[in-house]
Each structure stands twice: as C-alpha cells, then as structure tokens.
Amino acid sequence: MSEVGTGSRTGVGTGTPGGVGTGAPRPDGGPKVRGEFAFSGDLWADGMLWGATLRSPHASARIRSIDVGPALAVPGVVAVVTAEDLPGSRYYGLEHRDQPVFAWEVVRYVGEPVAAVAADHPETARRALAAIVVDYEVTTPVLDAEEALVGPDLHPDGNTFRHMWVRRGDPDARGPVVVEGTYELGMQDQAFMGPEAGLARPTPDGGIDLVVSTQWLHNDRDQVAECLGLPPERVRLSLGGVGGAFGGREDVSLQVHAALLAQVTERPVKVVYSREESFLGHVHRHPARIWMRHSAEPDGRLVSFEARIVLDGGAYRSSSYHVVANAACFAAGPYVTPNAVVEGVGVRTNNPPCGAMRGFGAVQVCFAHEAQMDRLAAACDVDPVALRLTNAMASGDRLLTGQVVDGALPVAEVIRATAALPLPPAAGSEPMGRPGAAGLTTDAGDVVRATGFAVGFKNLMYAEGYDDDSHAACRLEAGLVTVTCAAAEVGQGFVTLAQQIAREVLGVDDVLLAPADTAIGSAGSTSASRQTWMSGGAVEKACREVRAEVVARVAAATGAAEADLRLRAGRVVSDGGAVPVDLSLAAVTAEEPVEASVRFQHRTTFPLDADGQGDAHVSMACAAHRAVVDVDPDLGLVRVVQVATAQDAGRVLNPTAALGQVEGGISQGVGLATMEEVVLADGAPRNASFTDYLIPTTLDVPEVVVDWVEVPEPDAPFGAKGVGEPPVISSTPAVVAAVRAATGRPLTRVPMAPAAVAGVGDAGDGEEG
C-alpha cells in the first residue's frame, strides 16, 4: 500500500503542515461530532412557518379540479399554493425544463407535487394537506420502458429522452468465441441520511433568501428565479448543512416550493422532508435492462462488442440525456474494443424520475460488462483476471467513441495491484460474522467462501462540449487567508481540500473558508467527480495569483529576486539570492490586502456525432475490485467479507478522506449487489422507508483493503483525479461474481434477492445468455 507523504508534490515548496497530501482533518469535524453543525433541517427563524407538499398518489391521472378551500379553513394554515400561484415558469429541470413545479392538468408519477401549504405547526400542515380535495381521473400508467418507446406520448416532449448509437470499427467483425447475456438492475436510491430541507425568507427588495441542502447552488438559484418570476440577483441561495447527496440533490426538490410559500406569505418558511417524502421527492438511479454480446479470439482478445442499453428515466428528464451517454460510451468497460455497436436509450415512463447517482450510467453497464468478461473467461478457459489484463486499456488507446485517452489510465496496474492485495483470514467462530449475522441463521458448516473480480471506469467531469467552470476567490489580509468558493460541501470533504490547497500554496496554517452562497460565481455541481479538479483548480489558481502578487510586492520592496522568494509558515523568506528576506505575511498585507478572483476551466470537449464518435470527455479514472464473500447457499444469504481495491487516483491529496470515499462507495456498491432497490407496484414505491429500503449496516459492510495507483493526471491540479465514483462502479459486479462462484447460479439481476441466490422459485435468478 502506497504511503502518501506530506508537503508539496508539485514544486510549490511550502511543505506546510496540513497541506496537500496530508490527512488533514475536516474543519467541520468538531461541530459535527458535538451536534453543533447546522444542517439545513436545523434552521430556524422568528415567525417561521412550516411548508408541506401534497403529492400525487397516482402514477397517471388527469386532474379535474383542485379545491384548496378546506385546507385554507384549517386553523393555523397561512397559505396554500398550486401551479396557478407561480408568477413565473411552471416548469423546472436540471438540464431541460420539462417538469412541472406543481402538476395542474396531469400527474405523471406517484409523488409528483400538486400543491403546498404553509402553516404554523408541522402537524397542522400535514392535516391541511389531507384537507385539499383533488379530483383525479385515473388513467392507465405506462410502466415498462420498452412499452413506452412504442406507445403514445406521456408528455409534449415525447417519451424518448435520448436514443443514441456508438459505432466503431467493422460492425460485422466476429471472433470465434461468443458470449451473450441480458442483465437487469433495480432502482437504487441515494438514501442520504439527511432528508431534504430548506428555509426560505422573503427579503425587503421582494426577493428570496433560501438556505438549502443542494449540490449546485447556482443552478437551483436560476430555476427558483425563473419560477418565481424574479431576476436571478434577487434570489440568493446559501448552502445549509448537507446530510449527504450522491446525486440525489442535483435536481431541485423543495427549493421552488419553499421560496414560493415565503413569497406568498411574506414570512420565513421551512420545509423538511420526512424519510418517505425524501424517497418520493428526489430522483433515483436508473433501472436498466442491458443486452450484451462479446466476441473474442480463443485467447480472449476482444474482437467485437454489441450492446443495447435501455434506461427507465421515469416521468421527467432530469439528467437522463447524459446518463444514457455515459452508459453507451463506457458500455464496454476499460477494455480495448476494436469493433463495437452500442445502442443507448433513455425512456420516459410513469415511474418515479431517475437521474444522477454516484457512478452515473457507468454503474449499470459495468455490472453487465463484467459479468460478460467472466463468461468470456470461462468460454476461453482463461483466468478472469488474466482475461482482463489481456484486454486492459491504457493511455494512448481509444475509447468506444474513438477518443484517444491522452491522460493517465492505469487499468492493468489497478488490476495487478488489486490481485496482489492480501486475502482475508478464514471465517471466525462468531455467528455475528457469518451470513445472516444478527438473525443467527447460519452455522459454520453452512458457509461457502468465494471470490469475484471486476474492473470499471468512468469519465471525470461533464462532457459533450459543456462549458464547465468554477469560480473561487482568495483574499490575504493582515496575514489571514480567506477562501471563497460556492462548491457545495455535501460530506465529501471539499472544505478540507480547499484549506489544504491554500495552506500548500500560501504556506500558512490557518485558512478561513467563507460560506458557500450565490454571491460569488458558480462552482458548478458537486457531481461527476469534478470538484477536486474544478473547484480545487479554482482555489489553487486563486491562491497562486495571491502568492504571485505577494512575491512581486516583496520583491519590489526588498529588491530580492522573485525566484528566490518562498512562502513558509506564514512568512516570506528568501531561499538563496543576494538579498535576505524574512517578512511575515501579516506585515506584507497589513496595509493593503491581496485578492484574486478567478474562473477555472478544463479543456474543451466536443459533442458526439451520429455514430457516437468524438472527443467528448475530459479524463477517465479506473479501479478494480476483488470481493471475498461468505455465502449461505441454502438460504441465499451473503456476507461480504472483504473488498480489496486498487484505484487510479492521479495523486492522493488527503489519504484519510480518500479512504473514506473508497469505503463509502464500496458500501453503496455492496448495497446495490445485495439489498438496495426501490420496489414499485403500479408505479408506486412500496418501500419508501428505512424499514424496507435497506442500506448496509455495520454488519453488512466488508473489510476494505486499499492500494492507490498514483499516476499523475497531466491536466489536473496537483495531478489528482476525483476518487468518489470508481469505488461504487465495479464493487457491485465483484460481489455478484463472488456469489456466482459460490453458488453456480447466473445471477443476472441486482440486487440479488436471497431467493435468487438460493435458487428458489422465479425470483430474478435470471436467464442464461
């Protein structure tokens, strides 16, 4: 396991404690462990009202009428709003405004907002919701993606969010060994721990202040302003403490509702979702049905690849357009694939909307392509790890899109490093350590241990020509450094990293972070593994400009050469040269602060053409996972004992935080493999609670063994890649591969129900390909 040193790795040369590469602790750690950190649900204002949202119980219905009168008559109710009360646009949407803020003529999914109330007690608000009379004419929902593709339009924009092809090489090329299969993934939920919450306040200028937990303040701000009919500058968003996100807060949820209620009542309005409403109120990971056929030479070298990927996007578009692209572009995995035909489709149905979740399209296809790689290894009679090495992509190879990978992509290295990690000890004697654990189901003799391997990759940052940027500012005044950036801290640790970068560049111990709000330019979304690169890059650039100005100022004042000056421990000192210098930053900036405000961009990307070809992506990151599982085959119960992983990180900027990302991501991957699914009946979630939407507990997560493969990414600040997504991509297929090895069952669907693992009944065991 690689050691990550302290101090500079890029020649800035300050060697500051708590700088880049150290396990610097979180600045918000103290308040969080003491319960003093203010999450958005903890906010409070004098005279505050409680907002609540009425949601459709039907997956498809026409609204004949909405009578809010009985709700208004409930004592304590101050306002009831519907679509008719919106001064501006009635639609919102992350990328495309196709989703009604409140449904008015039709509802298209269970949970779609129809009205909202503001009252002086949450229980009063709940009773008022029950008093609203909505006359629905229930219609037949379309709940199957293939059916929706050929059926009548569910929305004026039609039912196809995206239908694309990626074609490369000779479509008729075939190798002698062919494997084929169909795979399914259920609907996973982000299930962040802190439900959606926000507090909206009217401002004296007729605008709105909204404190909210989100992933992207500025995008929310623009949507709120459009719907409220306000210029963007009169809508100010600040980041409330965010209790996790994982993609589920990229879309607007309560933002417009809370702001509208505050606008209408002219009072502060707080909205806090219950856990059930959280499940209804945010997008999920797209369920998928994926067909793949690979052909190869007898030695396992890939010749051709075909795939058809159908993603159910639910009722509204959210980020479906780009999830489809990711699924199609990375459908073959990180393997050299000379000939390919991939069809990717995202479909509108009357199911709950789906959008961003950690891994964003790569998760779905990785489950399929890794199952295929194992089938191919079996068909060629070669070792599954060797087969992956045979086909491993590297820098200089081309993606399915024809794009040459010109950055780092150490696929073979992560495979070898993962395979070399130590295996876990044999099972202990404690029943709590076995499958079934707390259920005391399983005796030692009932357990079969097996191992599975998987590799995955994904792009970092936005794609297809999106003009992505992040803004940051740095101010050095009287020796105090303040960094300002609107990047949403959702738990991932950007606040730690921003401090580390500022310490590193400026050679100071203390760095103050200004609150994240829309007063500064956009930092873009905390998604797509982009903030380390984009906002880390913006912070670095701002700090470097401040540093340059300080050096120039001291050089001018002292006559020292700029090249001889260093920033260390809060001082400007000379390192060689004729003029000795030793000045405190406090003295240098006592009279006049040094400030820099910057915009950071990555290199340009381009749209894909009709054959899915083009330089659409900025950078790629990969990881391999080896799962060791103990399975109780008779009951179909699984205990994931260990997941070993080597991950391509470029450079590790904070080993503690990076390890946390890996362990957390693997836990979500294990969850998708073994238990996590929003179960729908007639389009309605049947398990919108933590009683029945199960996420891993302490007794479900494996020991995680990590090795880092550090090949600096040429374009990235400090050479670092985002590390949040790869852990969730190939951990799922690794676990499933291990359970296949333990049981001999095909297991082509996740999550694997115990019934499927045990081979009982028709429980999603999956067809043979």
């Binding site: 259920g439 189901t441 005796d443 003799g445 199960l694 129900a753 009944g761």
Partner: protein, 288 residues
Amino acid sequence: MDEVLLPTTVDELVEGRAAHPDALLLAGGTDLMVAVNAGTLPVPGVIALRAVDGLRGWRREGDEVVVGAATTYADLLAPDVADLLPGMAQASRTVGSPQIRSTGTLGGNLGTASPAGDALPVLVALGATVELRSPGGTRSLPVGELLTGPKRTALAPDEVITSARLPVARGPQQYRKVGVRNAMVISVASVALAVDVEARTVGVGLGSVGPVPLPAPDACAFAVDAVDWATGALHDPGAADRFGELAAAACSPIDDHRSTAAYRRHAVRVLAARALATACPPATGAAA
C-alpha cells in the same frame, strides 16, 4: 381524553384503560410512535406503561418465568433470565438494534400482534400463556388464542396485557430468523424451537409465514419420535430435513415486497432443519 396518563400501579393502569378505551396504549413505542410520527394514527390520548411499578422485569415461579409486559428485549438478554429462557434471549438478540432492544417490550410485541414480531414464535413454541387484566379481573389466554390475526388480538377494549408466563427451559432452544440484511431487519421468516427433555416434547413457532405466528404440530410430533430421549440426539441424521419439510408444510406465507411465499416456505424448511440438528445433534457426530 387529551393527555398522557402515566399510571404508576397496575390498578391505576387498569382503571385508566377502562376509563379511556380509545387512548393509545404506549409501551416501548417502537411500533406506535412510527405511526404517530407518520401522521397515520390519531392521538386522542395516551396511556404510557413506562412508570407502572411491577410491569417491567421477571420473576421465577416454580417451573415458570413470569415476564412483565413492559420488560424490554434488552432485559431479556441479561444472562440470568437468558439461562432460563434461552430461546427468548436468542429472539431478543435478533430484534432490531440496540436502540430498539432497549425500548421494545414483550407486551408491546403481543399487543401489536405483527406476524413478524420476533418474540411471538418463541411464545408459541413454549406454549406460553398471557395474562390480561381488566376491571372485571384477571384472565389467562394461551398466546395462540390471544393472537387472532395480523395486528389483531382477542384483547377486550378494557383489557391490558400485564405479563406472559413461560416455562423454564428444560432442554435446548433455538431461534433463527432470516432477513434481507445482516442486522436491523424485519423477519422474512423465523423459526423458534423448544425441546423439553423431561416432558419429551418439542415445540415449534413459525414467524412471518402466516397471519399469526404458527405452530407446527406435525413437525413436533415427528420430532418427538425422531429424538432418542435417552441421549437427546436424533436417531437419524436425515430426520432434521424431514422435520424441516413438516415445518414448511405448516406455513401459509404470502408474497410481498419483502420476499416471496416460496422463499419464506423454503427458509422455514432450512431454518427448522438447522434448529433441530443443532438442538439434537445426531449421535453420529456431525450435524446434517
């Protein structure tokens, strides 16, 4: 009624219940407060059991243990009572989380009458009786007569559950429960087994596989013949599997979002076989 009654004696509790038959009877709150928080249960008034003297805890009376209705699962995990009621201790350990175990009560489990209640199959396997109090007096019901359906009991409107009476273990006991997660999970299927080597009887209770926790009389009768009572071992290693099949035959499970009927029946078969093979390991040595 628009208040919370905190009776301190059983008599006060009984009087309060008779006076306020519509009030919510609050034991540990692990089921009731979920509904209150969700707004699905009106709160016309509450009678809380927390402060009732003598309702929490257990005492031994001869060959029986009387467990107060407000006794928590955590209480039942204490070694002294776990030695007397090992099956109940195992069941208690499978309940929820430490937080749930320190609040959830035996009486609450009975009153809620969920088919998935983890204590209930043990009570069925042990042939426990439940004591009920009302202003009219005290009566005892076998647990199978108290539980009449999913979330339904034979409790009269003016009655409260005060205790359960369980026999002290006279032989091995087992409780095993399948869920879709390795902890903190509602039972998909569970099996309680109690072997009485003195009376030479076997009791079984099956959870989450019917409208109420179910007995399995055919399986029990089979087991009585399958055990060599002189040694406590199964005559035939294959008997455990046959026992599992008979237990599975006693189920009447349903399909729902947690599992399928077929899997539930299958799980009962496996769990019951393992329970018997562990409780009465075949004389040849290794369990089946």
